[in-house]
């Protein structure tokens, strides 16, 4: 893949280092001359000193038709402009912007940026997911919160204990992908019976999450 990495300090250095190992074609642009040199010596790679929000910088660095551009500066607006310039003028397929203000995540996506990363936003999502339910349940969101993975421990008094999956009237949009029955991992079929102490790994959508948890935890 041809990857353009603009702005950023240690995050840029880290990403360059990681992607370099996988033999991607990397173009690194950094407005901070000193840091550009640092990344360059540290990773043994050419770094273009320049402002990635200017079309001529992207042109000089030969960014046309790249697969991805990452905008990692500390200025949300500049990251937006770098991404939009990449998309509109250089035919770069995917753009990724880092934002400081978590409110910009939704806004940037609306304005056409493909992926928007905010550490605060991610932190808030993690806290919400972790704390929304009792500690026996863990959830993980994938694909921009379109899919959730729920892990629920089955207790003895749940009504679905000892029932076959095919006989349980589950709510919609549920898929029990995996049952962890220490020390075995079971990929369940219709006739698999759920036992107390099982850990169910369920794939679902965020809107169905609460309903599914309530259903699984229904007591006898």
């Amino acid at each position: 893949m041809k990857v353009v990495i603009t702005g950023g300090k240690h995050e840029a250095d880290y990403i360059v280092n990681t992607l370099k190992e996988e033999h991607h074609q990397l173009i690194v642009i950094n407005n901070d001359r000193q840091f550009a040199e640092y990344i360059s010596t540290n990773n043994d790679i050419a770094v273009f000193p320049g402002d990635p929000t200017k079309a001529y910088t992207l042109s000089d660095a030969e960014c046309e038709n790249a697969d991805v551009l990452l905008a990692l500066s500390d200025n949300d607006t500049d990251n937006y402009i770098a991404c939009i310039t990449a998309k509109k003028l250089f035919n770069i397929k995917r753009t990724v912007a880092k934002v400081k203000n978590p409110k910009n995540v939704e806004l940037f996506k609306k304005l056409g940026i493909d992926s928007v990363i905010s550490s605060t936003y991610l932190m808030a999502q993690t806290i919400l997911n972790e704390s929304s339910v009792e500690n026996i349940i863990k959830t993980l969101s994938i694909e921009d919160e379109k899919i959730v993975m729920i892990e629920i421990g089955v207790e003895e008094d749940f009504q679905l204990v000892n029932q076959r999956i095919m006989d349980i009237p589950f709510p919609r949009n549920i898929n029990i992908s995996c049952i962890f029955r220490d020390p075995h991992v079971i990929i369940p079929k219709g006739d698999t019976r759920i036992k107390a102490e099982d850990k169910l790994i369920i794939i679902s959508t965020p809107s169905e999450k609460e309903e599914i948890i309530d259903f699984i935890q229904k007591k006898r």
Partner: protein
């Protein structure tokens, strides 16, 4: 929804004078700037509303009645901010008339395919120079 507000973002010399002018013409003007001091450039005849805040924050734009804007003029001192704000006004709030001041003519390419109008002081100055030079030549 009634669109009757005229919003100016950036109270520099240009922004403040446009705001004053439109206010004199009877428009319901709201001018936004990061600092209170910037509003000193408004003339006495300005009778609009002054708002201190960062217009890149949607909450600030919304409290400046962006949803009721019939026109917005963007004249902050950063081209990147101006383009970004003009895109927000265009794609998020569908403001029917958007004007944006740009120093770098290259940046105008980011407005292609929209009805956002760019004002380039550079082009205007160059044209003015050429006119004056030719006049003097004759």
């Amino acid at each position: 929804m009634k669109r009757n507000k005229f919003i100016v973002i950036g109270s520099g010399r240009l922004g403040a004078n446009i705001a004053t002018k439109m206010s004199e013409l009877g428009e319901d003007v709201i001018i936004i700037d990061l600092t209170e001091d910037a509003f000193r450039k408004l003339q006495e005849s300005f009778s609009g509303y002054e708002m201190v805040g960062d217009a890149t924050d949607l909450a600030v734009l919304e409290s400046a009645y962006i949803k009721h804007a019939k026109a917005v003029v963007i004249t902050t001192d950063s081209d990147n901010t101006n383009i970004y704000l003009s895109h927000i006004c265009y794609y998020v709030y569908n403001v029917p008339k958007i004007f944006v001041r740009l120093s770098d003519t290259d940046k105008g390419k980011l407005l292609e395919g929209t009805y956002i109008k760019a004002i380039y002081p550079f082009k205007l100055s160059l044209a003015e120079f050429t006119d004056q030079y030719e006049e003097g030549d004759i």
